[in-house]
């Protein structure tokens, strides 16, 4: 049962091969078996899940046939869930029980999915290894000595270990795609504004975007349709009809024009990853795609621009955690300033503090133009690079990450070394473009991801390409040893 994709679960539930309750019970047993070693879940809501599953089964028995009815998923612990603790991986929110649901959670609830729990993540989504979680790091199911990536590390590890068929994630600089690549699963960051950010705890508001993580592109298509759409409550959510992604994925790739950025196939990319990508390129050629080299000449400035824009927005967003209205409060504050300063010092972890300091510095008088405005200008140049590329090609293909999953502790001494992990994923966030990562091979037993970047609102095409690729390859069907 646990090896079933979302599409297979939908089919099996509809056929009555098993009930939602049976499936949820089985998955909850697996979670309790593997969570101690993998730590993919921060919170498991077994009782609520089983009673919702029972209710879903009863509805189905009465003739309800919503496609996702009774389908188990898990939410990244950044999405507010009414009555279920939402920590965002932080001590600051260790005891925060939201009084409301994020729009994404509401949409999944309305579609009938069952939430098995909340997945582990880097604190406030800041990190590329999940090592910044207050609730401990997460093991990569392919090699438990290695990180699952981040910040949606728990979401990726949970799917890879087949503890749940799909999860939600969020992506500010690669936080869906990089862990998807490290864990051998499929994940898509939609166009900025496609998915509501309401109730999704903010890190960098002009970059954050939620999306699905699952084993297949087909599953991502089903889930993205369920979670997308206009929301009054998010002022940057875009009012535009949601595509039937599931209908888009079956199209032929004949005539598809794919750009290969010279800058992505550069010295930063390890040779075995380049070889895996070459194989994927050949597979897509057989499916009818043609490839041309393109230039995205300002790409090397994406990481520097991002590490000004994201910390600046983070320092502003996280100022709301003041120890007054919610979140951690220090013991016996002597005055209001002491209350603010100590509550925040105790509540936030190392990387979050570092980013708040950098962001505050970059936004402070005298430095604002040199850092923040400069970064926004560079952001524009990066966006223009993409716009020029999309005059020539339909999509852009490259690696998701420069290396495969690294060992715990390997990059933790130097923040800049850690930041360079996001070199290939950050540009799409700066431009607001949709981007997907799908498994395309293994290097020394560790998964490799390929990344597709599309033009605005071209999610359907990205899912289409990945789905067609997954019809002729089986990288996405591989399951780590030890969790079969």
């Amino acid at each position: 049962m646990h090896k079933n994709t979302i599409a297979e679960v939908c089919q099996n539930l509809a056929n009555g091969d098993y009930s939602s309750k049976e499936l949820c019970q089985h998955l909850l047993e697996r979670i309790s078996r593997f969570n101690q070693s993998h730590n993919a879940f921060i919170e498991v809501s077994a009782d609520a899940a089983l009673s919702s599953a029972e209710a879903a089964d009863q509805l189905r028995a009465k003739g309800a046939n919503a496609p996702l009815l009774g389908v188990p998923i898990a939410h990244k612990d950044i999405f507010c869930t009414e009555g279920i603790r939402t920590s965002c991986g932080s001590r600051m929110l260790e005891n925060f029980v939201p009084p409301y649901n994020a729009t994404v959670v509401e949409k999944f609830n309305a579609a009938g999915t069952i939430c098995l729990g909340k997945t582990n993540m880097d604190e406030f989504a800041m990190g590329s290894s999940n090592e910044n979680s207050y609730f401990g790091s997460v093991a990569n199911p392919w090699d438990t000595d290695r990180v699952p990536g981040g910040s949606s590390g728990g979401s990726a590890a949970a799917v890879a270990a087949r503890l749940v068929p799909a999860t939600t994630g969020t992506d500010t600089g690669g936080s869906i795609r990089q862990p998807a690549a490290f864990c051998g699963i499929t994940g898509i960051k939609p166009t900025y504004g496609r998915v509501s950010r309401y109730g999704m705890i903010a890190f960098a508001s002009s970059l954050d975007q939620g999306g699905p993580m699952a084993t297949t592109a087909e599953d991502c298509a089903l889930l993205l349709e369920a979670m997308s759409g206009f929301d009054e409550r998010d002022s940057t959510c875009i009012d535009r009809p949601v595509e039937r992604y599931i209908d888009a994925i079956d199209q032929s790739l004949n005539g598809l024009k794919v750009g290969l950025p010279r800058e992505y196939f550069s010295a930063e990319l390890s040779a075995p990853i380049a070889a895996a990508l070459q194989q994927a390129i050949e597979a897509l050629q057989k499916l009818g795609a043609t490839f041309v080299d393109i230039d995205l000449k300002n790409q090397s400035l994406a990481v520097p621009a991002y590490y000004v824009v994201a910390p600046a927005e983070c320092s502003s967003n996280l100022s709301r955690f003041d120890g007054v209205r919610y979140g951690h409060r220090c013991e016996s504050p002597v005055d209001l300033e002491d209350l603010y300063k100590r509550s925040r010092a105790e509540g936030f972890g190392r990387e979050v503090k570092r980013r708040i300091l950098i962001g505050t510095y970059a936004l402070s008088a005298g430095y604002y133009d040199a850092y923040y405005i400069k970064a926004q200008k560079v952001r524009n140049l990066i966006s223009q690079d993409f716009a020029r590329a999309f005059e020539q090609v339909d999509v852009i293909l490259g690696p998701t990450t420069p290396t495969t999953a690294f060992k715990h502790g390997e990059n933790s001494d130097d923040p800049v070394a850690m930041y360079l992990n996001d070199i290939f994923t950050i540009p799409a966030n700066l431009a607001g473009l949709p981007a997907l990562s799908a498994p395309c091979g293994f290097v020394e037993g560790l998964p490799v991801g390929l990344q597709l970047v599309g033009n605005y609102f071209d999610e359907g095409r990205l899912l289409n390409i990945a789905h067609q690729y997954q019809q002729v390859t089986d990288w996405h069907r591989q399951i780590p040893a030890g969790v079969e």
Partner: protein
């Protein structure tokens, strides 16, 4: 620009974040490294480039000025560290 300990202390105050004194040098080093990374942007001329604040250049959506949300003070205060009779409690501010 290299950040010194004094700057870390100033910025930490602006961010209302108390910093462990033993850690100030570490933060100064790390901030300096990240700012050095940011300064690589100076390699490119951006004189005639518009700053991009938002990926799709969206403008603020307006709506009719009418009440859409109900008061849910009690629900919202349930997750507050300290409240009394509907008010949030903080250390005394006015003598």
């Amino acid at each position: 620009m290299a950040v010194d300990e004094k700057t870390v202390a100033q910025v930490a105050h602006l961010a209302r974040l108390s910093i462990d004194e033993n850690r100030v040098t570490e933060y100064a080093d790390e901030m300096s490294k990240v700012l050095a990374l940011a300064e690589t942007m100076n390699d490119i001329n951006t004189d005639n480039v518009e700053p991009m604040a938002h990926p799709t250049h969206a403008v603020q959506r307006l709506r009719e000025d009418k009440v859409t949300e109900t008061s849910q003070r009690e629900a919202f205060q349930q997750c507050a560290p300290s409240v009394e009779e509907g008010y949030y409690l903080v250390p005394q501010v006015i003598e």
